[in-house]
Amino acid sequence: MTFDDIKESALLAFSTVRANKLRSALTILGVGIGVVTLTFMVSIIQGLNKAFADQIEALGSNTIFVSKFDPSFGRTRPTSEELHRKDLDVDDVEAIRRESPSLESIAPIRRKIAVSVRHLDRQSDSPILFGVTPSYEFTLSQYVGRGRFITDADLSERANVCVLAQDVVRALFPYEDPLDKEIKIGGTPYRIVGVMETLGNFFGQSRDNSIFIPLSSFDKFWRDIEPPEVIFFVIVRPRSRAYVKPAIDEITDILRRRRQVPPRAPNNFGISSQDSLLDFYNQLTGATWLVLTAISFVALMIGGIGVMNIMLVSVTERTREIGIRKAVGATRADILWQFLIEAVVLTGIGGISGLFVGEVASLLMNKYSPLPAFVPVWAIFVGIGISASVGIVFGLWPAWKAARLDPIEALRYE
């Protein structure tokens, strides 16, 4: 089988495809749908993965989350045992800051899910209220853009000052400068001292709908509200990525001691890093990946059966042609290759058009839907490779049938 032979067979295959336009188009469509499914599925998963990795990075990579129970990924709600645990407190934070050499900074945070804020006649009920300390900025890598952040003085004076994130600014001060204006949070007046930089979205959800006030001021009003409406947690920033694991170990030791956990008993608090978030995410998409691959596989199988069907018809129709070719010297391998290449040309066209449609679909999806989609380069090669393999697998039996035809019988075929 020389390159010239392959070229010859491919040209012949294209002319056969042209000669049976409708039939070929339907077969190509079958394979195309399979490849579109595959490409589309890969692009969604890859898009989600990429977006997630970016977001994790943006959330402040390498930070450690400590609270009285683990954030409930994949679970609907915390257990009542978890809810009744003793909260962490400022003394715990102070102990960790003093005793853990691996950490660079630590930020205690109390958070209320939704507060109502108003400025004159404008109001918003959705912002998340954070009671924070000055270390928040550096620990979470979220910085004030204009004005200033919460200071130690604010904290000790329990000052009624606040820093707004961009969504809140847009909702309450669409046309004016918010600095030094006064807003009412849950009915209490607060003076705006700063405005945060924009953070952007995390899976379609804005991260800029926040208000920051001093932790001490927060505690005046909302300290005793039960979770999940108000929760207290601690974010720790280790010296670098390499210190994530040691920091977790150190903090675990400190908290077990302070919360008097008996040896061998499980922690009565939660501690996790962004890595554990990633782990959970990978588990989740791993399962999805498997399901979507199976679906694509079934779609490709159906396309392949279409190819086999049409190739069997083609072999029967061209029995006499096969007889002629054999009479003038075509070997079984020559005939086998001719029909195999024809099948691969069919599925190849299907594969390339499928990839094209899949690519366009994922571009549109990126543009017009909140779901990110992304076709990696390897998926293009895999798509072409898989569609060619479908041609080989499903074209083999018809091609073998053609190759085995007896030339005398084939020449007599009407």
């Binding site: 010859e8 010297g329 079984r332 020449l411």
Partner: protein, 257 residues
């Protein structure tokens, strides 16, 4: 089925004797272009055996123009398929151009057909979707000739049957006589040892038949070896030697010119 076709083949002992000893040594590679020795072709029809050929032996020298004639059912089609290496005999040995083809497998036979034999069929057997030029190129494709050479040789071959102006036409754009000339050009393009024609005028009117038979005569005078299989006596009469087949055996073998 006649008694004659049901006659017994030579016993295994007799056939074995042919395969052995000194007899084989001196006739191992015959000098003739075609050499058939005691060829049997047996088909199993249910529980019965049908002997289409019953011990046929003959030689054809290079440059001969021979006709094989016989009524339908005589075994001449079977003989043609064997001569054309489309099939192998049940017993006996067959050499073409010094090669023992009776023991070859399918792919070896395909190569022999490609190299040694040019077929001309009653119904032309051209590829309907291909041009005359491409039809003529077909044997060269399987001979592994590069496309530039192929084009040139196919062109020359079409020119030799005076079809230079029809090269890009498809079979359905050609007359019966022109189609048969394309088929002859295809048969000749790889310079075979033997031109084998099966009822070459069977689908043509009498005027065109004469034209084609004249072409065969010219090809013969150019030095080609030709075997024509036919049931028409006047077509056979154009040849220089006629073998008559009846009931699977050679009834007569006569030189007429």
């Amino acid at each position: 089925m006649s008694d004659a076709t049901m006659a017994t083949p030579p016993s295994v002992v007799e056939a074995g004797a042919l395969e052995h000893g000194d007899l084989l040594a001196h006739d191992a590679v015959p000098a003739a272009l075609i050499s058939m020795r005691d060829i049997w072709k047996t088909y199993q029809m249910g529980s019965e055996e049908l002997h289409a050929l019953r011990g046929v032996s003959f030689d054809v020298q290079r440059g001969e123009y021979m006709a094989i004639i016989g009524p339908s059912g005589s075994g001449k089609s079977t003989l043609m398929n064997l001569i054309g290496c489309l099939d192998t005999p049940s017993q006996g040995r067959y050499w073409i151009n010094g090669k023992l083809v009776s023991a070859m497998d399918d792919d070896e036979l395909a190569r022999i057909r490609n190299k040694e034999i040019g077929f001309v069929f009653q119904t032309f057997n051209l590829l309907a979707r291909a041009t005359a030029l491409h039809n003529v190129e077909l044997p060269l494709i399987y001979a592994g000739i590069s496309s530039a050479d192929r084009h040139e040789r196919a062109r020359q071959s079409l020119a030799s049957v005076e079809l230079t102006d029809r090269m890009t036409h498809r079979p359905n754009e050609l007359s019966g006589g022109q189609r048969q000339r394309v088929a002859i050009a295809r048969a000749l393009v790889n310079h075979p040892s033997l031109l084998l024609a099966d009822e070459p005028t069977g689908a043509l009117d009498s005027h065109t038949s004469v034209e084609i038979m004249n072409l065969f005569e010219k090809l013969h005078s150019d030095g080609n070896t030709i075997i024509v299989v036919t049931h028409e006596p006047d077509i056979a009469a154009r040849a220089h030697r006629v073998i008559s087949i009846r009931d699977g055996q050679i009834e007569r073998d006569e030189r007429i010119k």
